[in-house]
C-alpha cells in the first residue's frame, strides 16, 4: 500500500514537471523572437497553433493568444496546482485513513485448526484488513513479542485472545476490531463444537442466508447511497466553471476598457474576436479539466481508491462533459455582459446576477449528492441549461437519471447554447465599441444600433 502511494505521488510530480516544461516551451518563442535569433521564432512554435489558425482563421489567431496568455499567467499556474492538490488530497487521504498498510500479526500458541484459521482470516477481510499468523513456541515468548509490538494480538489454544493493552469500550482501532471479531469467531466455533455439530452443519449456520423481506408498497424512488465522488466533482465543476467564466468576463472587459478592442476590430470582425476568445479559453479549460480527470482516475487506480468503484468513474466523466456544456453556455452570457461594461469597477455589480443560477444549481446539487436524496427541485434544475451542469451529473451520480433523460437535458443545453451564442454575439457587436457609460439592455435590443458620440 505504501509503495502504491509513493508511486502515485511520483506520478503527480512527474505530471506537474511535464506541464511546467510544456508551458515554458510554449512561452519561449514569444520571448526569444525579439532578440537576434529570428529564425527560431516560427519553427519553434508548436504545430497545434497553426492548426488553430488554419481551421479557424482570424478567430484561431485570437484563440492562440488567449491560450498563450492564460497559460503563461501566474494565476492559472497557481490555480491549477491548487486544484490538483485538492484532487490528490481528496483521493489519497480517505485511502490513508481507511486502513493500516501493515497486515495484522496474530500470534498462535498451541493448536489452531485449519478451519478456524480460515474463519479468523475471513473476519479480518470483513473489517477491511489483512492478517498473518505467527506460530509462537510458548506462552512466555508470545507475551514478550506482544509487549514488544512484534505481535498485534495472540490466540492461545483457540480459547483465548490476548492483546498488549486492554481494549476500552470506544476503541475502534483495527487491532481492537480484529480482536473482538476473532474472539467472537472462536467463541461461536467452541459453541458449535459443544453442541456437537459437524463441521458441515457449523458451516451452514455460519453462512446462513437471511429470509427475504417483502414490502406491501413499492419502495419510494430515490433513496440512494451518498456519493462522495459526486460531491467532490461538483465542487470542482463549480470552482472551474466559475474560474473560466470569470476569465471570459475579465478578458472582454480588459479589451474594452484598455481600448485595445479598437485596434483589434480595425482588423477582425467582432464575431471573430469573440469566437476566438471563447475558443481559446475553452481549450485551456478543457486541457486543465482533462488533466485533472486523468490525474484523478490514474491516482485512484494506483492507490486503490473507492472513487473508481460503482458509479464514481461515470460521475467524473459525466461531470467533465457537463463542465464543457456549462462553459459553452455561460461563456456567451459572460462575454455579452462584459461588453456592456464601461469601467473595471462595474464588473462586480454585473457579475452578481450572473452567479446566482450557478450558485443555486450548485448548492441544490451538492446537498442532494451529500444526502443521497434527489428531490423534485433537483429534477427540474437538471433540465434547465443554467443549472443542468450541476444537477444532471448529480442525478447520474445517484443513479437517478435514465439515458434518455440525460440525452434530453444535453440536447436542451446544446440548443439553448446555440441561441444564446447568437444573441450574445449580437449584443457584443453593438456594445463593445460603445464608451461613455454602461450600455442598457434595451438599447442593445432596439432596432437601430448607435454608438456614443465621440469626435
Amino acid at each position: 500500500m505504501t509503495q502504491q502511494i509513493i508511486l502515485a505521488v511520483v506520478v503527480v510530480f512527474v505530471a506537474a514537471r511535464l506541464t511546467l516544461r510544456y508551458r515554458r516551451h510554449r512561452a519561449r518563442p514569444a520571448s526569444t523572437s525579439l532578440p537576434p535569433a529570428t529564425s527560431s521564432a516560427p519553427s519553434s512554435k508548436p504545430p497545434r497553433r497553426s492548426v488553430l489558425v488554419s481551421v479557424f482563421g482570424d478567430a484561431g489567431l485570437v484563440a492562440q493568444r488567449e491560450i498563450r496568455e492564460r497559460i503563461r499567467g501566474r494565476v492559472f499556474q497557481v490555480g491549477t496546482a491548487i486544484i490538483l492538490l485538492v484532487v490528490v488530497a481528496a483521493i489519497v487521504i480517505p485511502v490513508l485513513t481507511r486502513s493500516k498498510s501493515q497486515p495484522e500479526r496474530v500470534g498462535v500458541v498451541g493448536a489452531l485448526s485449519a478451519p478456524l484459521r480460515t474463519a479468523v482470516s475471513a473476519t479480518a477481510d470483513g473489517i477491511g484488513t489483512t492478517m498473518t499468523f505467527v506460530s509462537e513456541p510458548d506462552q512466555s515468548a508470545a507475551d514478550a513479542d506482544l509487549r514488544s509490538g512484534k505481535l498485534d494480538l495472540l490466540i492461545v489454544d483457540a480459547e483465548q485472545v490476548v492483546v498488549a493493552t486492554a481494549i476500552s469500550a470506544g476503541d475502534t482501532s483495527t487491532t481492537a476490531q480484529l480482536a473482538g471479531a476473532a474472539a467472537q469467531t472462536l467463541g461461536t466455533a467452541a459453541a458449535f463444537q459443544a453442541a456437537g455439530l459437524t463441521a458441515a452443519q457449523a458451516d451452514a449456520i455460519s453462512h446462513a442466508k437471511p429470509v427475504p423481506v417483502l414490502g406491501l408498497r413499492p419502495a419510494a424512488t430515490g433513496h440512494h447511497k451518498p456519493s462522495p465522488a459526486s460531491v467532490v466533482t461538483l465542487v470542482l465543476v463549480f470552482v472551474m466553471l466559475s474560474q473560466y467564466t470569470t476569465w471570459i468576463l475579465t478578458g472582454v472587459v480588459e479589451e474594452k476598457t484598455s481600448r485595445v478592442v479598437e485596434v483589434l476590430l480595425a482588423a477582425v470582425r467582432p464575431a471573430q474576436l469573440l469566437g476566438g476568445k471563447v475558443l481559446g479559453i475553452g481549450l485551456v479549460a478543457a486541457a486543465q479539466a482533462s488533466l485533472l480527470v486523468a490525474v484523478a482516475l490514474g491516482l485512484s487506480k494506483a492507490v486503490g481508491s473507492d472513487l473508481l468503484h460503482g458509479t464514481g468513474a461515470l460521475t467524473v466523466l459525466v461531470a467533465l462533459l457537463w463542465l464543457v456544456l456549462g462553459y459553452a453556455f455561460y461563456c456567451w452570457v459572460y462575454a455579452a455582459a462584459g461588453s456592456t461594461v464601461e469601467r473595471q469597477e462595474q464588473v462586480q455589480s454585473l457579475a452578481f446576477p450572473l452567479v446566482v443560477p450557478v450558485v443555486v444549481g450548485y448548492l441544490v446539487s451538492v446537498t442532494a449528492a451529500a444526502s443521497g436524496t434527489p428531490n423534485t427541485f433537483l429534477d427540474v434544475l437538471a433540465y434547465l441549461p443554467p443549472t443542468a451542469p450541476f444537477a444532471m451529473p448529480t442525478l447520474v451520480g445517484l443513479g437517478a437519471a435514465t439515458w434518455w433523460e440525460f440525452s434530453i437535458s444535453v440536447a436542451l443545453s446544446v440548443a439553448s447554447t446555440i441561441a444564446i451564442a447568437r444573441l450574445a454575439t449580437s449584443v457584443y457587436r453593438r456594445a463593445i465599441l460603445r464608451t461613455g457609460r454602461r450600455v442598457r439592455i434595451r438599447e442593445l435590443m432596439s432596432a437601430k444600433p448607435s454608438a456614443s458620440p465621440r469626435t
Binding site: 525579439l34 480588459e254 485596434v263 480595425a266 477582425v268
Partner: protein
C-alpha cells in the same frame, strides 16, 4: 476611372447622428497617397468619428469610404493601419508579443510578423522594451509601441488619431520622421492633431472640418499663400499691437512676443500701416508674410 481613384482614400458623404447631435454632416474629402495629410478641426468637430468610420468602428447613417475606388470592407482594412486616440494595448502583454499579434491579425505570417515587429521596434527606439509589459512603459514609449502596432504590417493607408499628443520633442521628431518616410514610400497618411505648428512642418496638405462638415482643404503652401495679405510688424515697446487695433481695414490676427500679425483688407495701402507703426515707436520689423496654418485654421472656422 481607375487611374483617377488609384491611391485615393475617399470619404464620401459621411453622416452620423447621435440622437439630436450631428457628429458628421455629409462630410466628404479625399486623401491622396504619397503625402502626409493633417486632419484638423476644433474639439467635437467629428475627426475621431471620421477616423473610426474608416475602420468600420462606428455605424453610419449614410455615406461610404472608398480606397482605390472600391468601398472599404474587412479584407481591405487588413491593409490599413490605425492608431486610435485613446491608446489601445493589452496592459499585461509583452510589447513584442503584442505588436506581433496585431501584425498577424492583419494577415502577416508568424515569421514575417516576428521580423517586422523586431524591425519596427528598433526603428521606433523601443527594441529594448520588447520583453516588457506595456503598463510599465512611459507614456512616450507606449505611444511608440502603439505606432509600431499600426505600422507593423506595412499598411497602404495609415490613419492616426492624435499621434503626437503628449510626446517630448524627440518623440515628435521620431514619429514625424516615420510618417513622412511612409508617405514618401507611397502610403496614404492621415493624422489628426491640435499642434498646428507641427502639422505645418510635417504635412503637405491639410483638411479642416467643423461641425461634421468640410471647411477647408488643400496643400499647405496653397492655403498659406491664399487669402488676404498679411503683414508682420514689430514695434519697440508695443507688445500687444495697441497702435494697430484702431486702424480701419486691419485685423490683428496674432501677437506673439512683440510680433504683430495684421490682416489687411484689399483697400488698405501698407504705407498707411507703416506710418501708424512709426508713429507708435521704433519699427524693427515690417514685412509681408504667408498665412500661418493657425491663421488658416482660425479664419476657416470664423
Amino acid at each position: 476611372m481607375v487611374a483617377e481613384t488609384a491611391g485615393l482614400l475617399e470619404i464620401d458623404g459621411l453622416t452620423r447622428r447621435y440622437g439630436t447631435i450631428v457628429a458628421l454632416d455629409g462630410l466628404s474629402f479625399s486623401v491622396q497617397a504619397g503625402q502626409v495629410v493633417g486632419f484638423l478641426g476644433p474639439n467635437g468637430a467629428g475627426k475621431t468619428t471620421t477616423m473610426r468610420a474608416v475602420f468600420g468602428l462606428t455605424d453610419l447613417d449614410s455615406g461610404e469610404v472608398r480606397w482605390n475606388g472600391t468601398k472599404v470592407d474587412q479584407p481591405a482594412r487588413r491593409r490599413f493601419g490605425y492608431m486610435p486616440e485613446e491608446r489601445g494595448l493589452y496592459p499585461g502583454m509583452l510589447v513584442g508579443d503584442q505588436v506581433e499579434y496585431i501584425g498577424r491579425l492583419h494577415g502577416l505570417s508568424a515569421a514575417d510578423a516576428a521580423t517586422a515587429t523586431k524591425m519596427w521596434l528598433e526603428r521606433l527606439g523601443v527594441a529594448d522594451r520588447a520583453s516588457s509589459k506595456v503598463d510599465v512603459l512611459s507614456h512616450g514609449n507606449q505611444q511608440r509601441v502603439q505606432l509600431a502596432a499600426a505600422l507593423v504590417h506595412e499598411p497602404e493607408v495609415i490613419v492616426l488619431d492624435e499621434p503626437l499628443s503628449g510626446l517630448d520633442p524627440a518623440g515628435i521628431d521620431d514619429i514625424g520622421a516615420v510618417l513622412v518616410e511612409r508617405a514618401n514610400a507611397g502610403c496614404c497618411v492621415l493624422f489628426s492633431s491640435h499642434q498646428l505648428d507641427l502639422v505645418e512642418d510635417l504635412c503637405e496638405s491639410v483638411t479642416i472640418i467643423d461641425h461634421g462638415k468640410l471647411v477647408a482643404s488643400g496643400r499647405v503652401d496653397d492655403l498659406a499663400t491664399s487669402g488676404q495679405r498679411r503683414l508682420v510688424v514689430r514695434v519697440d515697446g508695443e507688445r500687444d499691437a495697441a497702435w494697430a487695433r484702431h486702424l480701419p481695414g486691419i485685423v490683428v490676427s496674432e501677437t506673439n512676443g512683440g510680433e504683430a500679425r495684421l490682416v489687411l483688407d484689399e483697400s488698405i495701402d501698407s504705407d498707411v500701416v507703416l506710418r501708424a507703426a512709426m508713429a507708435a515707436g521704433r519699427v524693427t520689423e515690417f514685412s509681408f508674410a504667408r498665412r500661418r496654418l493657425s491663421e488658416v485654421f482660425r479664419e476657416a472656422l470664423a
